[in-house]
Amino acid sequence: MNNVLEYMESTAPRLPDKVAFADDDCRLTFGQVYRRARGTGTALSAKGYYREPVVVYMHKSPDMVNAFFGVVYAGCFYVPIDEEMPAHRIGLIFNTLKPRAVICDAKTVDAAKALGQGEVMLFTDICDTPEDTEALATIRKHALDVDPIYIVFTSGSTGVPKGVVACHRSVIDYIETLSEALGFNEDTVFGNQTPLYFDACLKELYPTLKFGATTYLVPKKLFMFPVKLVEYLNEKRINTVCWVVSALTMISAFGTFDTVKPEYLRTVAFGSEVFPIKQFNMWRQALPEASFTNLYGPTEATGMCCYYHVDREFGPGDVIPIGGPFRNTEILLLKEDNTLAADGETGEICVRGTSVTLGYYNNPEKTSEAFVQNPLNTAYPEIIYRTGDLARRNAFGELEFISRKDYQIKHMGHRIELGEIEAVVNLEEGIKSACCIFDDAAKKIVLYYVGDTDNVSLGKVLRGKLPRYMLPHAVIRLDSMPFTPNGKIDRKLLKERWISNGGTP
């Protein structure tokens, strides 16, 4: 197997009428997904698009998923864009991509045209194109498993998002080993929470194709209303969720389980953040029959690369480990001097294996900083990915996440470089300097600035330039920034001041 489409090609003839992807407005069967993906691939190919990025700028829907597969049929790679992302940031992404083709829907078509780059096509105009079987076969004949399948953009500390390029081989490796670890099968009913513009949704999309399972795209609004959310899970008989921790704690924190419990849920995978033990134990108590798995991994190593099946009790103050790597992946814990950390010693998580992605699109500089030669191998070229995450091995031999090396944070499952927020603020007229800190306990991004503006107008400007999840929760104007003796902004002091004031300015 060397192309992800083979999953669909073996399932669609077997289960043509089974629902593959659904939301409140639309249900697509495997037969429809297959036919429309081939139609889209045919249309793109006929227009001359080949081995290049095709932007998929649509609202979250089964059609958007369908468009991804259509792009892959054309021998291109898809680049999903968040429909709510401010135009400024999409512009930065387009500057990196220089896309010739953009697939959109009725909700995004005006915004897509306003960007003024590439041919803008409505998915509904191209998906019913009759397939050109010969053209699709030729494309496949020349496809390699090291060819890209997608690019997803992640926060960059310089203010410019970085596009992570992944290939078929990495995705297949991930889907095979993840499915094995979590026990997906044809009866799996996924409730998808994560946005389609990140690699997190690979966990549902491709196992659905592989096994002939079903994925419901859970409406985003439900994640604000815990009782309605659980009722939705029960109505759709969802038995498997791979959610960010904050989506799970939204349910447990407000006593939802006293009113209603997820009746069918048997597989709960979570990640991207630390699960507060009190909340975690509420989940285990509510679902004693379910399996709980902690997942860890950077986008640069194709989704997740480590997992831990919860197999013992955790009390207050304990940390749920990230466990160990999936089959066919190795984690090297490297110390500052590039030697391996001994048990109990802290080291940087470095990923070795097929899961390591191809690098950052059109960004050789950032690529060479993080995708580096394995320092333990001087004999032949071998690229590993340095995550910037620090970890150690505990008494059970499991990996435990400790912290970041830099100013990257995780907020509501989103990976954010505080430097990107600062870079955007610093571009504003009248701003002299800016510094962001993250209040880990309250999960708040706090922005300090010096300059001639006020908090309300700065807040408005940021709303137009940053994705919502990157907006600061508190904005504080200072007369002057505190500096360290080296002349750098004293983040530590700002953070200490914020915390000693009890999380207020």
Binding site: S246, T256, H411, K443, V456, H473, A474
Partner: protein, 75 residues
């Protein structure tokens, strides 16, 4: 009501809470905002908002939320 408006202003300073009745429907508040509001309300007014009251109708406007708080305070 004044205390509630202060809580809401802290979350988004640029929203007109006196007139807006579509805080949820228009996507002005997100799930993190809802969690923050519930946490702040419970410490400011010493009331617990039960899960079955965490519904869109109660969060679409400052007035609706205030009505809920008054109801909980009466209980």
């Amino acid at each position: 009501m004044e205390e509630l408006l202060n809580i809401l202003k802290d979350i988004h300073a640029d929203v007109d809470y006196d007139t807006c009745t579509t805080l949820i429907d228009d996507g002005i508040l997100d799930s993190f905002d809802i969690i923050s509001i519930i946490t702040e309300v419970s410490s400011e007014f010493d009331v617990q908002i039960p899960a079955n009251e965490i519904v869109p109708e109660n969060f679409n406007s400052a007035a609706a939320l205030w009505k809920l708080i008054e109801k909980l305070l009466d209980e």
